[in-house]
């Protein structure tokens, strides 16, 4: 997405990163128990990934994230009128690029005088799956993040998602910190 930002910013496309809750908290990158911790993590994210995009940090309760639907890694493209032009349940730069090219072409055609009416459409995206890179990220968060994801995969395979989460959370909360 950083590369996309570099490519499209000269074409008057802005890119921002909205910093939300930790998806896979671990011993080394724990969940946000204060706004200061959330800011510290956002700064670490900026440095580690050399992020040049403007980073906007959501409040501690995730008001912004929840208002956008609450999924862990979404992307939206918004118009200057603050209307949703594109949304994706998962961030995939190739898919975002297709949408940007289309929307910039619409803008160009309108400037040339084309009469274009909006209509609703959908697209099923396909993202690259890189399990090795994903696990490297989990390991950086701490062993707990790896264990919990492995356990969740087994749980999902058994179809035990909701009940198991509730019971595991109760167990975790009962544990001495």
């Amino acid at each position: 997405m950083e590369e996309l930002h570099r490519e499209y910013s000269p074409r008057q496309v802005q890119s921002v990163f909205l910093y939300i809750r930790e998806a896979h908290p671990g011993e080394d990158v724990p969940h946000h128990d204060s706004f200061q911790r959330k800011l510290d993590h956002a700064r670490k994210f900026r440095e580690q990934f050399r992020v040049r995009r403007r980073i906007l940090v959501d409040d501690l309760d995730g008001s912004g994230h929840r208002a956008f639907g609450g999924l862990p890694n979404m992307t939206y493209i918004l118009s200057s009128a603050h209307t949703v032009l594109f949304r994706s349940a998962w961030t995939d730069s190739a898919t975002v690029k297709v949408a940007l090219d289309y929307l910039l072409d619409v803008q160009a055609r309108r400037r040339e005088g084309a009469r274009l009416a909006p209509f609703y459409s959908e697209l099923l995206g396909f993202r690259w799956v890189d399990d090795a890179a994903f696990y490297r990220g989990l390991e950086q968060n701490g062993p707990k993040a790896v264990l919990e994801f492995d356990e969740a995969k087994r749980m999902w395979a058994r179809g035990e998602h909701l009940g198991s989460v509730a019971s595991r959370r109760q167990e975790a909360e009962a544990r001495p910190s």
């Binding site: 997405m1 930002h5 008057q12 496309v13 802005q14 890119s15 921002v16 909205l18 910093y19 809750r21 930790e22 998806a23 908290p25 724990p30 993590h41 956002a42 670490k44 994210f45 900026r46 403007r54 980073i55 906007l56 940090v57 959501d58 409040d59 309760d61 995730g62 008001s63 912004g64 929840r66 208002a67 956008f68 639907g69 609450g70 999924l71 862990p72 992307t75 939206y76 493209i77 918004l78 118009s79 200057s80 603050h82 209307t83 949703v84 949304r87 349940a89 940007l100 803008q107 909006p118 609703y120 459409s121 993040a145 919990e148 998602h161 989460v165 509730a166 595991r168 959370r169 975790a172």
Partner: protein, 66 residues
């Protein structure tokens, strides 16, 4: 999705099944986007998202370090 328990310490969160199930009908293309107040990490200033988007087409990625 509720504020309570938002910052979960144990993966997966309680609310993700509900959020993934609701998303296909939530905030679709053509709808006005939310306008949260956010902290700009570079300047330290509080900004509304509309203050950013009014300048043109804006890509908004949501995510975190983990």
């Amino acid at each position: 999705m509720k504020a309570q328990g938002y910052n979960y310490s144990v993966f997966p969160p309680n609310d993700d099944v509900e959020a993934f199930a609701a998303w296909p009908e939530f905030l679709k293309a053509g709808h006005r986007a939310p306008d949260p107040q956010l902290l700009d990490l570079n300047s330290g200033a509080m900004v509304r998202l509309t203050e950013v988007t009014r300048d043109g087409l804006t890509v908004v990625e949501l995510g975190s370090l983990t």
